[in-house]
Amino acid sequence: MPELESAPDGDFSVNGNPVDATGHDGRPLVEFLRDVLNLTGTKIGCGNGECGACTVLVDGAAMCSCIVTAGSMRGSDVMTVEGLASDGRLTALQESFMRNGALQCGFCTPGMLMSATELLLRNPNPTRQEIVHFMNGNVCRCTGYAQIVEAIEEAARHG
């Protein structure tokens, strides 16, 4: 989009709001989100791209925000877990996670939700196999995954 390209260096949007990343170009995106924007819904688990706790959507694609810099987001639309619900209305995925026991400690949940959101954007009717495969980069130590997979299946059904 041309208007974004002409934006000053470091500028991008987070949950629909323009942000100024001046001076934070080299920092991991997750730190910029958490420490500068105070959006602590995005978690840091491993900090190495290995657990998926920090997953956000960048132009609709799930990405580990611990291994990309804030500066590299220029011109992009970033969405975090805080951006899912609008006007207090939860998304179908958030609702089905709640109903299906898909969260226990909840620390993996923001990352799980963001990955699952991308999956359903791309593939509104995934098979169980496709869900399991797509979610394989997000570690959950509490649930054993079954209830997460069921929640995604249910959200897809009732979308």
Partner: protein
């Protein structure tokens, strides 16, 4: 007996913190921040065992952004610890493991703190390393703690040199029984070092106001932290406030103090709030992991296939601090005995110091180790005798009325029901036809930590309820379970209840989120609070209705008498204006389980409190060539007493089984010569979605004597039986018996080559 359908308990209701967790609004310990906060990083020993000659922090102090450096010299006390006071905040003279904290830097940013670490000059004189339990147990072994004798310790422990506790469980005369036995079998086993693997690293923020300390941390035991911090900094416990934001998983790994004391030391010296959060590498190298164990077991049977005696020895590798290992060497003996009737026992345990990172109380501490040995051996013996492993178990298991190994009452005993249900669900009776396919089964029992739970419950004038509980929500949903008990008894909806975060300054004492106790103990305290609320509310309601107080009971958001009722909100409002509010406390103290002291020595955990019983079964396929294992179906039959919320109980079972599949099949932190060999999530692999097989949960409900509605402890048991269940099935499928965890494809393939 009429069974009333219950409104709240027994129902699959969403947990009370669900909304804040799916929106990202909830604040975890790792998210917590204070204005003006500095960040800490820990300098850790590069040597497994060394004497500290000198520490020079001048250069680090001059580095950009650095506010302070703290070392042992900044800690007013010597050592702390729950059973043995053998832990120091920072090493004073001797470092005892690679990773032992030596100093910490507080700086404006985490990066600046980390950058200053190498500027602290430490001179070490390396000492010989005690790398294994065998070395530690040798007669001429070098001592990990030279001054062990001067350490304060729990009086039950039997200590000597590198042995932090020597335990014994003795029943009858095992030697004589073995001499008279028809057949005697002996086997050895080894278990592995597994990290709890919680996704939120350990983190804490500390702040001082004069000599008053506040700590925000995702701890399972705020009251234990409070007293530990008070002892470390030599201040009254009342001057320490520990507040618990949300916990991002713990599994016992956040039971004991982890980083709170370091944050407090930095904040004290820098005179500003300080945060310490561990990196993944620090977590893997220094987390409170499950102790590895070396186990030998001897079993004697008579011609009727009854067990006549069991003897054995368990070496528990505690690492450099004894921690929970002394307890593991106690409850481990009960796990090795297993849920069987055995007239003669001679089992001993050793909690052993080595120059490795200290271990902890990971979910069902001692359960997987002991059960792996006990239940693998049951299978091995049955196969050698040519009998069905299920039948061999059924011949020897405990049943209602039997006593436990230390003479304890065993509650409502359901191990037979669990075994039969698990066997049926896996198709035990049907022949296996495919090559490489096999089945395994195992059973066990587990304890529920008791002690006391207390709550304050307040009904607001709008009829909504606020609960102050000193028990944190560890993640399992157990607090939701306890609140279901409250909602049921008080006649409100679950959504009407708000729970205040555990905080030693405002919430009443609780023994902590541990030992499968939370839903039952906090639930019981809530039920007690409802009785006390009734005592206050019923007279007021009775007056309004013109009836007697003893005719009143709680109805749906109302107090009812005959066909009259008055809204709960109205009673609460009238008490608020007239008598300080509708508020009551509730308490529950779990009575101890009596046992025969003469049978035990050194056993700080001599009984299985309020036991739960369980059986697991699995159907799997082993690749003939590679040894790769595919789990086709996994079944858990677990006696939960009463299922307060089946969804979260299934979540505990599924999550526990997958976590334990990790331990059984691949997770292992490998220490060699005092160093960790695999300190990242690629080399230390935890199960992901594709690794998780189908897990079928069968909830057996034989009401126990302790929990609300007969509930039994739920959270820990699911990790206990998977190692033995899987080992037994791998043997059934491939003919290879693996007795040392993890059961990797290489071990199976090698076993096959060797014709094992």
């Amino acid at each position: 007996m009429t069974v009333h359908k219950r409104r709240i308990v027994g129902n699959r209701l969403p947990r009370i913190d669900a909304t804040s967790k799916v929106t990202g609004a909830i604040v975890y310990g790792a998210d917590y921040a204070r204005n003006g906060m500095i960040h800490g990083a820990i300098l850790r020993s590069p040597h497994p065992h060394a004497r500290i000659r000198n520490i020079d922090a001048r250069e680090a102090l001059a580095a950009p952004g650095v506010f302070c450096v703290v070392t042992a010299a900044d800690i007013p006390s010597e050592r702390f610890g729950s059973f043995v006071k053998d832990i120091d905040v920072f090493a004073k003279e001797v470092v005892r493991y690679k990773g032992h904290p030596v100093a910490a830097v507080g700086a404006r940013t985490r990066e600046e703190a980390e950058a200053a670490l190498p500027l602290i000059r430490v001179e070490y004189e390396e000492l010989p390393v005690v790398a294994t339990v065998e070395e530690a147990m040798a007669d001429d072994a070098r001592l990990v703690h030279e001054e062990w004798e001067s350490y304060e310790a729990n009086a039950t422990l039997v200590r000597r040199g590198n042995i932090a506790n020597h335990t014994r469980l003795t029943v009858g005369d095992a030697d004589a029984a073995f001499a008279g036995a028809w057949r005697v079998f002996e086997h050895s086993f080894r278990t592995n070092l597994q990290h709890p693997g919680y996704t939120e690293p350990r983190a804490a923020v500390a702040e001082w106001d004069q000599d008053r300390l506040t700590v925000w941390s995702s701890t399972q035991t705020p009251f234990e932290q409070q007293s530990t911090l008070a002892a470390i900094f030599r201040i009254p416990a009342s001057n320490v406030r520990v507040s618990v934001p949300a916990i991002g998983g713990a599994f016992g790994g956040k039971l004991r103090i982890g980083v709170e004391h370091v944050a407090a030391a930095l904040a004290r010296k820098a005179r500003r709030p300080a945060k310490v959060m561990l990196t993944l590498e620090e977590e893997i190298a220094t987390g409170y992991c499950r102790q590895p164990a070396h186990i030998r077991l001897k079993l004697g049977v008579d011609r009727d296939l009854r067990i006549v005696a069991k003897a054995g020895r368990m070496l528990v590798d505690c690492g450099a601090m004894s921690g929970s290992g002394v307890g593991v060497a106690s409850s481990g003996l009960l796990m090795l005995a297993g849920p069987y009737v055995i007239p003669n026992l001679a089992i001993e345990g050793f909690a052993v110091y080595t120059n490795k990172a200290p271990t902890g109380s990971f979910r069902a501490p001692s359960g997987p180790q002991g059960n792996f040995a006990c239940e693998s051996q049951m299978d091995m013996v049955a196969r050698e005798l040519g009998v069905d492993p299920l039948e061999f178990r059924l011949k020897n298991i405990v049943r209602d009325g039997d006593k436990g190994p230390t003479g304890q009452e065993m509650g409502t005993v359901s191990v037979e029901e669990c075994l039969l249900k698990a066997a049926e669900a896996i198709g035990w009776d049907k022949p296996v036809v495919e090559p490489g396919r096999g089945r395994g089964i195992a059973c066990g029992w587990w304890t529920m930590t008791g002690q006391s739970s207390n709550v304050f419950v307040k009904v607001n004038p709008d009829g909504r309820v606020v609960v102050n509980s000193g028990c944190a929500e560890i993640g399992s949903g157990a607090i939701t379970g306890a609140m279901q008990v409250l909602a049921e008894e008080l006649g409100v909806d679950l959504e009407d209840i708000t729970v205040v975060n555990a905080d030693t300054a405002s919430t009443p004492f609780d023994f902590g989120a541990q030992g499968s106790r939370t839903a039952s103990m906090v639930g019981n305290a809530c039920a007690d609070a409802v009785r006390n609320l009734a005592a206050k509310a019923f007279p007021v309601a009775a007056q309004i209705m013109g009836v007697t107080a003893d005719s009143c009971s709680f109805g749906y958001k109302a107090i009812v008498s005959g066909n009259q009722s008055v809204p709960l909100a109205q009673v609460a409002a009238s008490l608020q204006s007239g008598a300080g509010g509708l508020i009551a406390e509730g308490s529950y103290i779990q009575p101890g389980t009596p046992f025969d002291k003469d049978r035990t020595s050194g056993m700080v955990i001599p009984v299985v409190n309020s036991p739960s019983y369980h059986a697991h079964a699995v159907d799997l396929t082993v690749d003939e060539e590679t040894g790769e294992v595919t789990i086709n179906k996994y079944v858990v039959a677990q006696d939960v007493g009463f299922a307060i919320n089946p969804t979260y109980i299934e979540g505990q079972i599924e999550g526990g089984v997958i976590q334990a599949i990790g331990q059984t099949m691949y997770e292992e932190i490998v220490w060699e010569n005092g160093e960790v060999r695999n300190g990242n999530l690629t080399d230390y692999k935890m199960p992901t979605a594709e690794d998780a097989p189908e897990v079928v949960s069968i909830l057996v409900e034989r009401a126990g004597l302790t929990g609300p509605y007969g509930a039994k402890g739920v959270g820990e048991p699911p990790v206990i039986e998977p190692p033995a269940t899987l080992a037994n099935a791998v043997h059934d499928a491939s003919g290879v018996r693996v007795t040392d965890l993890p059961i990797t494809p290489e071990k199976i393939a090698l076993g096959r080559v060797r014709g094992n």
